[in-house]
């Protein structure tokens, strides 16, 4: 290990940390805004929980997506290692700058789109059009369209279930006391399963898939039973006591908010550390290894970055958002959180880099379509489409500029 190697790794890690920080600052609102807005938890609790859970999600479920970001967007075989190294650094920096700028400018961009756009830009300039893996980019782009739709459908279904099984019953409170814990149990199942199926954790403890599912089922059962026990004392104060139902969901919503934070960490940590994971083998051996594992320390770095982002700038984001959201009641927030988090978690297990914020927006629209919201402003869809179109070229352009500058400096 020589000084240059340490310098490169140190620099790249610093940039990755910056990227992770901006991701955390950006996306913390996605997970916690509904819970804070509904006064289920305070700002401080929200940012702390979001920080910790993003970290946990990043470290334990992260790697799948990182693989995609690292090697599959740019065809690494035909570009020389030194150029590749420069390219990864400049892509990371470009994406981080764009995320920070758009956070400042209040644009609904996606951190995932930024990094992919930046990598594409570098790929085009370094190896020509053919070096970019367009098929992979296409499938990633398809998942961007699919992720809001999936979030929308899931949130729609969850809300419809709540309406059918709770609100339309003669004693909504009694139904909520049973249905709520069941959904929470299901949430626990998904989280545990995602932790235990094909992750570093399951490798370490040698847990097979079927064992993982059994453990997840047991955990979900315990969580569900615990929920029923905790809620058993709540009684309806009058006929059609909807506020008590909302009260029950306020408690449950804290859990789904954590679920979003967790899956956000799992999904988005890759945006920050994916390129660095590519740099380490390049700098140490001079070659791009196809099978290099992403070291756990790197995941932890990304996780800490996101957590710090949540706790610093994220507070400001949350304050703005939490104060504004008043029309989203707890049952709605619950449905949005659940739909979004499940989509993101499944996508990150499949290795699809999707956008958390777009999924959340899709979920909000889903609840709206289920006649759950008093008013949904659909003009946000237009904004999202514009941001889709804008992010790729801008991130690519910035990345190209930084890359060219660096090449001149390094020679």
């Amino acid at each position: 290990m020589d000084a240059t190697f340490l310098l490169i790794i140190g620099g790249a890690s610093a940039i990755a940390f910056y990227m992770a920080w901006s991701i955390g600052a950006n996306d913390v609102a996605n997970s916690m805004a509904t819970a804070v807005g509904a006064k289920a938890i305070t700002f401080k609790q929200a940012v702390t929980i979001a920080g910790v859970l993003s970290f946990v999600g990043a470290v334990f479920v992260g790697p799948h997506v990182a693989e995609t970001i690292k090697g599959k967007i740019v065809n690494v075989g035909i570009i020389s290692p030194n150029i590749l190294l420069l390219g990864f650094v400049s892509s990371l920096l470009a994406a981080a700058i764009w995320v920070t700028v758009s956070t400042w400018k209040e644009m609904p961009i996606s951190t995932t789109h930024s990094i992919i756009g930046a990598l594409m830009g570098f790929g085009i300039i370094a190896g020509g059009m053919s070096s970019v893996n367009w098929g992979k980019v296409g499938s990633v782009a398809a998942s961007w369209v699919l992720s809001p739709i999936a979030g929308c459908i899931l949130a729609f279904l969850v809300f419809k279930i709540i309406v059918k099984l709770i609100f339309s019953k003669d004693d909504p409170v009694k139904s909520a006391k049973i249905i709520g814990p069941i959904i929470i149990g299901f949430t626990a199942f998904l989280i545990t399963a995602s932790l235990l199926l094909k992750t570093s954790l399951s490798k370490r403890f040698d847990i097979s898939n079927s064992e993982g599912i059994i453990i997840a089922a047991i955990v979900s059962f315990i969580v569900g039973a615990l929920g029923i026990v905790l809620l058993r004392k709540i009684k309806a104060k009058k006929v059609e006591d909807y506020s008590t139902v909302e009260g029950i969901f306020r408690k449950l919503q804290i859990i789904t908010s954590c679920y979003v934070a967790f899956s956000h960490g799992a999904n988005d940590v890759a945006n920050a550390i994916g390129p660095v994971a590519g740099i380490i083998p390049l700098a140490s051996t001079g070659e791009m290894s196809a099978t290099a594992d992403i070291p756990i320390a790197l995941l932890a770095l990304g996780g800490i970055g996101i957590a710090v982002g949540c706790m610093t700038w994220g507070r400001k984001v949350m304050r703005t958002v939490g104060g504004k959201i008043t029309s989203l009641t707890n049952t709605r927030g619950f449905s949005v959180d659940f739909g979004a988090a499940t989509t993101v978690l499944i996508a990150s297990k499949l290795g699809l880099p999707i956008s958390t914020s777009h999924t959340v927006v899709g979920a909000v629209i889903g609840v709206g379509l289920a006649r759950g919201l008093e008013a949904v402003d659909l003009s946000i869809i237009k904004k999202i489409i514009v941001s889709w179109l804008l992010t790729l070229p801008i991130a690519a352009g910035t990345s190209i500029t930084i890359f060219l500058c660096l090449r001149v400096i390094v020679g």
């Binding site: 950006n26 609102a29 996605n30 805004a33 758009s102 956070t103 400042w104 400018k105 209040e106 644009m107 609904p108 961009i109 809300f159 309406v163 609100f167 339309s168 003669d170 909504p172 059609e240 909807y242 909302e246 700038w313 400001k316 984001v317 703005t320 958002v321 504004k324 959201i325 008043t326 029309s327 989203l328 009641t329 914020s357 959340v360 927006v361 909000v364 629209i365 709206g368 379509l369 289920a370 006649r371 759950g372 919201l373 008093e374 008013a375 949904v376 402003d377 659909l378 003009s379 946000i380 237009k382 904004k383 999202i384």
Partner: protein
């Protein structure tokens, strides 16, 4: 608002608005409620020949009408095309419009009464008071029906709540019909007395019974739009 300070990205917050259109409709209904409370007692006093505080009442009703107008305008001007609501936006606006007309007619009624203190003949006093009470009951029934929107929204329009609203709407129709009958009774009574009364008095009395009844008509219209709003 503090839009300027808000430099942080938060796309989700923009998808649902803080101010709910239904909340504003209910605010507007609150003005109608205040107005009915004033009007009920005021008209009874008027019919008994007590004009002492009537100018003050007129001012108050006028103020309420103005406040309600501001709510209505605010709501109408800030309902963009891209806004997606669980009910038909057109029907929602019609309900609001009819609800606003209740106040318009109430204002018109008290202004006209204040301009010319037409004496209600002793023979008609009882019928007049009964008519006023029925009209106010119609409006109150409408208020209750509109109020139930809260529960409809909360449960996202489940069948049980829709049935409840329908029942409340039926009550509005019933009272409106009864009020109509009283109006015809009143008109009949005025024609019976036409020889005894001055022509201008007859004219004004006929007008008054129309104006009072208009309020109930518009309350019924609100209920009708509400009904079609919640229909699937």
């Amino acid at each position: 608002m503090n839009k300027k300070k808000n430099h942080y990205r938060a796309p989700i917050q923009d998808t649902f608005r803080k101010k709910s259109p239904f909340g504003q409709l209910l605010d507007h209904m609150g003005k109608v409620r205040e107005c009915t409370l004033l009007l009920g007692d005021g008209l009874v006093n008027y019919s008994k020949g007590d004009y002492k505080n009537f100018s003050e009442l007129t001012e108050n009703v006028s103020k309420l009408e103005h406040e309600a107008d501001i709510i209505k305008r605010n709501l109408r001007n800030h309902l963009p095309k891209s806004l997606f609501m669980p009910v038909d936006k057109g029907k929602f606006m019609w309900a609001l419009r009819e609800q606003d007309k209740i106040l318009d007619h109430a204002e018109n009624l008290v202004r006209m009464l204040d301009m010319r203190h037409t004496k209600i003949p002793k023979e008609l006093q009882e019928i007049f008071i009964a008519h006023v009470k029925l009209v106010m009951k119609t409006v109150e029934a409408m208020e209750e029906a509109v109020e139930n929107i809260k529960d409809l929204i909360e449960t996202s329009f489940v069948k049980r709540e829709r049935e409840q609203t329908k029942k409340l709407i039926w009550k509005v129709h019933e009272y409106e019909w009864e009020a109509d009958q009283k109006k015809y009774e009143m008109t009949q009574g005025i024609y019976k007395l036409e020889k005894k009364l001055a022509p201008m008095d007859v004219y004004h009395l006929l007008k008054i019974s129309d104006w009072v009844d208009d309020i109930a008509d518009h309350a019924e219209n609100v209920a009708d739009w509400l009904r079609s709003m919640i229909a699937r």
